[in-house]
Symmetry: C2
Subunit: 152 residues, 2 copies
DNA sequence: ATGACTGCAAACTCTTTGCACAACA
DNA sequence: TGTTGTGCAAAGAGTTTGCAGTCAT
């Protein structure tokens, strides 16, 4: 990725927002946190921790996987990152800015974003009735992708 | 669990159905498969593989965890069992007969069933538009349970 | 009889933990 | 300067795989 004026501007804006949120929570601002935050938000896709590591390693080769996990957890607590689990392989992390559902192939594990309908209010009401304080919902559609269907 | 006339009747009905499905698919009928099938369907809750093992072990002490996993996968392929992943700890398995959503506590990992609203048809349409052949959807509401909210 | 299924053991993947050093505030 | 955060290594949890013996058909 080349550092065009636009991507620099986007990164600066992301950094500014994260810095603010970190300070609010009494957390320190580190280059690791800024870079992980950028990595998740500059991709439109969902990423595994390993992929975040690969992305951030270009700018900061010494960063480690435990730090990736710790940082993603912190960003999740701050409401900036969302965690998705399809039960196939690794956890996925993505920007929390663009609400959407996921479609997952139950054979090859491929995952794609699906434009999100509004989250069903009944589900939140049901969770509340069960004594939960609902914060967000995750909708995954399982099935077969084109390629796997064609493969029989 | 005592073997009342009623539970024996339910088990017999479950066995009959599974036997039919297995034969259709060219699979063999084994006591392991019958017992795992009963364990998942006689509980109203979702179970981990370990819990299924514990349940089945009472009747068949020699059964092993790899067999539990293999059997649950087969039952899932036959459409009799559903797999749920909240991203916290172990996979859960449950009967496919009773559609519902789940609420998961993001602190303690507790999971409860929530009466299911109809699955959003827009999500299926979106998956189809993305080239998927959707089969089922899974809705999980994340939040804090009563106990964890009270604990601060 | 023969091929699928099971049980055992071990490997594997992904994630988390413990601890010493580094670096933000 | 005092903690918080990071990196390394290792452990941990959960799931899967390979193979020899068993059992359904």
């Amino acid at each position: 990725m080349s550092a065009t004026a636009e991507t620099v501007g986007v990164a600066a804006e992301l950094d500014r927002e994260l810095t603010e949120r970190l300070r609010e929570g009494g957390h320190r601002v580190t280059s690791q946190r800024l870079l992980v935050h950028r990595a998740v938000h500059e991709q439109q896709r969902h990423l595994t921790a390993e992929q975040v590591l690969g992305s951030v390693s270009q700018a900061l080769p010494s960063i480690s996987l435990p730090t990736i996990y710790a940082t993603l957890e912190l960003l999740e607590d701050l409401g900036l990152v969302r965690r998705v689990s399809t039960g196939t392989g690794a956890l996925l992390f993505e920007s929390r800015r663009t609400p959407h559902a996921h479609a997952a192939c139950r054979r090859c594990g491929q995952i794609v974003d699906v434009p999100a309908p509004q989250i069903d209010p009944d589900a939140f009401a049901g969770a509340r009735a069960a004594g939960f304080a609902p914060e967000e919902a995750q909708l995954i559609v399982f099935g077969l992708c084109n390629a796997c269907r064609a493969a029989g």
